[in-house]
């Protein structure tokens, strides 16, 4: 059973055993506007929790995407190169960015679940 968690920087992470899929939340894509380009890392890259793992660009902004947990990149969503709009249309599904092998599952504990994240977003305005 996969669990969906969120960070305060609006990344989501869905864990399946030892691997996790990462993307940006529906709220984040709405704030960004039309996504025009996603700069993804190379598979094999090691990332630390809270450090930059990707960059997502709209026409008027570029945002760093931070790794919610530490680990190693095992796959990236190559579809985004030709169809960056997937980040807008299906941010939790086909608009995924990176798949990672987790280094330390305990890091997931600090992340928000759906209810907590929804409350957090509400409080932002």
């Amino acid at each position: 059973m996969s669990t969906l968690r969120y960070t305060e920087e609006h990344e989501w992470i869905r864990v399946d055993g030892d691997t996790a899929t990462i993307g940006i939340s529906p709220y984040a894509q709405e704030q960004l506007g039309d996504v025009v380009f996603v700069d993804l890392p190379q598979p094999g890259k090691k990332v630390e929790k809270g450090k930059e793992v990707a960059v997502v660009e709209s026409v008027k902004a570029a945002s760093e995407v931070y790794a919610p947990v530490s680990g190693e990149v095992v796959a990236v969503n190559t579809d985004l190169a030709s169809e960056p709009a997937k980040v807008n249309s299906d941010p939790l599904g086909q608009g995924w960015f990176v798949k990672m092998k987790l280094a330390n599952k305990a890091e997931l504990d600090g992340l928000m679940d759906q209810a907590a994240y929804d409350a957090y977003v509400k409080g932002l305005h």
Binding site: V36, S58, V59, K60, A62
Partner: protein, 448 residues
């Protein structure tokens, strides 16, 4: 004062609306130590006539290329600019318009920049070009920094035939950004072997073609050597008219081409403003600095243009920008593009042929002078001669005779004894036979 529309009555009414007694009230945040009770110590205002006289007097103290036969190149070239160019760039909607951030009211600027980008790509034989940089030298430094980003390496090899200003600017950036540049020994004979300097840490090799000494070389072998080592080939062109006669860098394997565009549309102007050209392969597009204009459609479905890929630039990425650049050389790029449009294919190739023919004629005349040796087997419109004595004083002596006879190598490579007697000479379509004869006989006199 002719540029200030407000009258004393206006000012008074405005102060009332604002709700302050005097203009000084609006400067109340200025610290006491910086407040002044009298104007700054400079002359008071003057009418046009007086300003014209003052600046005219400074202009009159110079001996320019319009009056004196001139054979100077070394990065800036005297060409005839058709009369229509200067008229068109002075239209107020070009001259006094701002950067095209609001595309609905700047389609004029955006369309000509799109044409400019296309022309630059065509001239250099590359896939994509930007909307211009400050000048060729800064474009060269930006190219090296881009090569560093693309290859994730930090060492650039520079040719000894690269214009010293381009090399110096690149070295300045290298020092502050912490990448390495091999200081190149000057290569007046065009014999250096750059391929052996490439290794697994090299991000790029920068070569100029025609070189600063005028030599032409086929860059294909060097391009292959670079690519084999995972490095990029950056080619600099200081005289764009050469591209009308010789193979473009793109056809020889260049990855980035930078150039000085001054030769087309822009007067010599004592060194600036000029216009830098920058072109590269499509796959490196997002690493390219500078503004870019892209085609798109509006809500009515009509074709139009916008500034695009702005997320590379400083106003969005801030400290992560590809460069801190905020501007391009708009009006100079416009002059370039209008001139090239007037020339067209036939005119551009013919202009290049006239330049080469002029240089060939002059080279022959000079090589006949006793003690003067031509160093170049190949050249476009600029070549190097070796004189029997130091070239610097020779050029001064020629100037006293009213002739601007080339650039001594010592001006660009000071303190290099082996280059002391070398003189860089350019000939363009503006040099008549009478000019060339004047140079030849004056040089003969001076060398005697």
């Amino acid at each position: 004062m002719r540029y200030l529309p407000l009258t004393p009555t206006d000012r008074q009414a405005m102060l009332v609306r604002i709700g302050v007694r005097s203009i000084d009230d609006l400067y109340r945040d200025v610290p006491a130590k910086a407040r002044r009770d009298r104007p700054v110590d400079l002359p008071s205002h003057q009418g046009e006539l007086e300003v014209e006289r003052a600046i005219g007097a400074m202009a009159a103290r110079n001996l320019g290329t319009a009056k004196a036969p001139s054979f100077l190149g070394a990065g800036a070239y005297r060409h005839h600019v058709p009369a229509a160019v200067d008229h068109l760039i002075q239209r107020g909607e070009f001259l006094t318009s701002y950067t095209p951030y609001q595309p609905e009211v700047t389609q004029g600027t955006l369309e000509y920049l799109f044409e400019f980008q296309t022309q630059v790509a065509l001239l250099t034989g590359m896939e994509v070009a930007n909307a211009s940089m400050y000048d060729g030298g800064t474009a060269c430094a930006e190219a090296v920094m881009m090569a560093n980003r693309v290859t994730r390496r930090a060492k650039a090899v520079l040719s000894g035939g690269l214009h010293p200003h381009y090399a110096e600017i690149t070295r300045t950036h290298a020092h502050f950004l912490g990448f390495r540049v091999e200081p190149p020994p000057a290569d007046p004979d065009g014999k250096e072997n750059l391929a052996k300097l490439i290794d697994g840490e090299t991000s790029c090799v920068v070569v100029q073609n025609p070189s600063a000494f005028g030599h032409l070389q086929d860059l294909k072998p060097l391009a292959e050597a670079c690519h084999k080592a995972g490095a990029l080939l950056v080619v600099a062109v200081t005289e764009v008219v050469s591209l009308g006669a010789i193979e473009p860098p793109g056809a020889m394997g260049a990855d980035i081409v930078v150039a000085e565009g001054q030769a087309l549309g822009n007067s010599l102007g004592f060194g600036g403003p000029y216009v830098g050209l920058f072109a590269t392969r499509e796959k490196y597009l997002r690493q390219m600095p500078g503004r870019l204009v892209g085609e798109t459609k509006d809500v009515d479905g009509r074709r139009g243009w916008v500034l695009t890929l702005s997320t590379r630039e400083q106003h969005i990425r801030r400290e992560k920008a590809t460069s801190n650049i905020c501007t391009n050389s708009g009006l100079c790029a416009l002059a370039f593009t209008i001139h090239l449009t007037l020339l067209g294919e036939a005119g551009f190739q013919r202009l290049a042929a006239l330049n080469h023919a002029a240089a060939c004629r002059l080279a022959d005349k000079l090589a006949k002078l006793p003690g003067v040796a031509l160093l170049n087997r190949s050249f476009f419109n600029e070549f190097t001669v070796k004189l029997p004595k130091a070239a610097g004083p020779v050029v001064e002596a020629l100037a006293k005779r009213g002739i601007l006879g080339g650039v001594p190598a010592s001006r660009l490579w000071p303190g290099e004894k082996s280059l002391e007697n070398l003189l860089l000479i350019a000939a363009t379509e503006t040099n008549t036979d009478a000019d060339m004869d004047a140079l030849t006989s004056a040089l003969k006199e001076v060398l005697a």
